[in-house]
Amino acid sequence: MYKKLIEFYNAGLVSFKMVKTFNMDEYVDLPRDHPESYHSFMFENFFRHIDIEPSNIHILDGNTSDHEKECSDYESKIQNAGGIDLFIGGIGPDGHIAFNEPGSSLASRTRIKTLNEDTIQANARFFGGDLSKVPTQALTVGVQTVMDAREVMILITGSHKALALHQAIECGISHMCTVSAMQMHKCATFVADEDATLELKVKTVKYFKGLMTHHRKLVEF
């Protein structure tokens, strides 16, 4: 997605001058300039290639001595910016949104979370396969923080996310699959590729694919 946005920027189709961003999470006790921090990721893959104002970007700081203050300050910053217009995220194989691991309160706000084993295992590949090097905690926006956004867009690709997608949209709302809370959001969009739909009911997939003909009519000029 970031690559596409950079392409559009380079083609002069979009500018980020007036855009404010709030990242959803950052590892605790990982140096900001570590290649696997979200600061590094965002800088390398997005910020340095576009015209966003450095003072308009916000990322949680996982290296403060007072995590609670950092998190509540973050919530205030979001409020002061006028709230989030569009929240974009992916999901974990266990259906977690941001680092709201299974068992997270669906009423949660920005706070520190301990990562579960699945997440740590999945992350190990970014830390040379050495489990001891993978961070075990992260600061993350809460489920309610995401719900407060005016629009939510969840991007899901790949068959390994298929089961999570099934639980997220075809099962009930459950704190064991925190992205399912989006079922209560007024304006949530799930964007999925074919492989991610592998565990959905044929009926569900047919219905949403069928909507495309209507959507196309809406955007025809």
Binding site: R32, D33, H39, S40, F43, F47, R48, E53, P54, S55
Partner: protein, 379 residues
């Protein structure tokens, strides 16, 4: 506030105020791992970490310099330069001020060749000259006034008479005597401003001399020597880090007696000593392209570009001085008066870089690293 955008050749760059943040865009930056299409941030003459600028300073650039897709490289470093633009570092004519102003004028004009650091090289000279000239070759930082001085490169006088090249025979000293450190102090005077010494390792007392110099932090380079491989290896184990203009002024390669050239593949040069650097003059004249390729393929990590340029660098064809010698220059060739001996080169560093690429087919990154990163590591 929107940054002011200028081209890389704009005058604005010479009037940058304190604390102004400059961002070089649209360029390929030479880094240790190759050419990267990134931005370079500079403030108050220092390069900044982009992320610190972004996450801490949180400001956009004051001036954006559009480099038009060109390569942004660190300045070139020439560790063997005998002079240029009419000035010869081995000649001390009248007084300190004259010498110093000659030195500054070379430093300033070197910037036009992209060279931002150099080691003024003094060929075999009398102790008198060393005593006068060395104190004037202090280390200095590069600035817009001229390239920085790394310290002196003393090429001689402790060399092999048979391999003197165009050095004056009568001033060559072929033995360091029973007390080499004393001899060094006596001949050179103060060793304070010496960055590199070229010495023949087979000379009497050379091993001790090398140890002494290495201990003082001087880089020792073996050259102007007819040593077999053995003394060369001993020199490296004693701390010598470099070979002076490979192939020139040394024994030719022989398969049973590889000489100093054999150091490139010596098993005694272990990881403690690696990489062993060697200066090479890639002007197409001092080294046949085929020999250049052999060195490049055998030990690319040690390849360091030097010009070994003389006073005639940057000047027209004609007659010039180098120390006490007279040199004739025609095109890219410079020969010792009355002989056919090559007497240093008149090729600029950019020329050497380009020639290295065309002769060996190496990448531009490799060629540029050989004129920048490797000379630095050597120091």
């Amino acid at each position: 506030m929107q940054p002011k955008r200028v081209k890389y050749d704009s005058d604005v760059l010479s009037t940058i105020a304190d604390n102004q943040l400059i961002q070089f865009i649209n360029c390929s930056i030479l880094k240790s791992n190759g050419l990267k299409k990134e931005h370079l941030w500079v403030q108050n003459g220092r390069i900044l970490d982009e992320r610190i600028v972004f996450f801490e300073q949180k400001r956009m650039a004051d001036v954006q310099v559009d480099c038009d897709g060109l390569i942004l490289s660190p300045g070139f470093i020439d560790v063997q330069l005998n002079g240029g633009f009419g000035i010869d570092f081995s000649t001390y004519n009248s007084n300190d001020d004259d010498y110093k102003s000659g030195l500054s004028s070379v430093a300033k004009q070197l910037l036009t060749h992209g060279v931002t650091s150099f080691a003024p090289t003094v060929i075999t000279s009398s102790p008198e000259i060393y005593h006068k000239v060395l104190p004037l070759l202090k280390r200095s930082n590069a600035s817009s006034e001229g390239a920085g001085i790394l310290g002196a490169h003393l090429e001689g006088p402790f060399i092999c008479r048979d391999k003197k090249g165009c050095h004056p025979e009568q001033l060559v000293i072929t033995s360091l005597g029973p007390n080499p450190s004393e001899t060094i102090e006596k001949v050179y005077g103060s060793t304070e401003n010496i960055a590199i010494v070229t010495m023949a390792p087979e000379l009497d007392g050379a091993q001790k001399a090398i140890e002494y110099l290495v201990e003082k932090g001087t880089v020792v380079s073996v050259g102007h020597s007819s040593a077999k491989l053995g003394p060369g290896e001993e020199a490296v184990m004693a701390g010598a880090k470099m070979i002076t203009h490979l192939f020139n002024a040394m024994q030719s390669y022989h398969h049973r007696d590889p000489g100093l050239i054999g150091l490139l593949t010596s098993s005694k040069v272990t990881s403690d000593h690696l990489p062993l650097y060697y200066g090479i003059i890639s002007d197409g004249i001092h080294t046949h392209d085929s020999a250049l390729r052999i060195a490049y393929h055998t030990h690319p990590d040690g390849l360091c570009l030097v010009t070994d340029a003389i006073a005639a660098l940057g000047m027209a064809d004609g007659v010039h001085r180098l120390g006490t010698q007279t040199i004739h220059v025609t095109g890219l060739e410079a020969k010792l008066d009355g002989t056919d001996t090559t007497a240093g080169s008149v090729a600029s560093m950019p020329y050497c870089i380009r020639h290295l690429m065309s002769a060996t087919g190496c990448s531009i990154e490799f060629a540029l690293h050989s004129a920048t990163m490797k000379p630095v590591r050597n120091d």
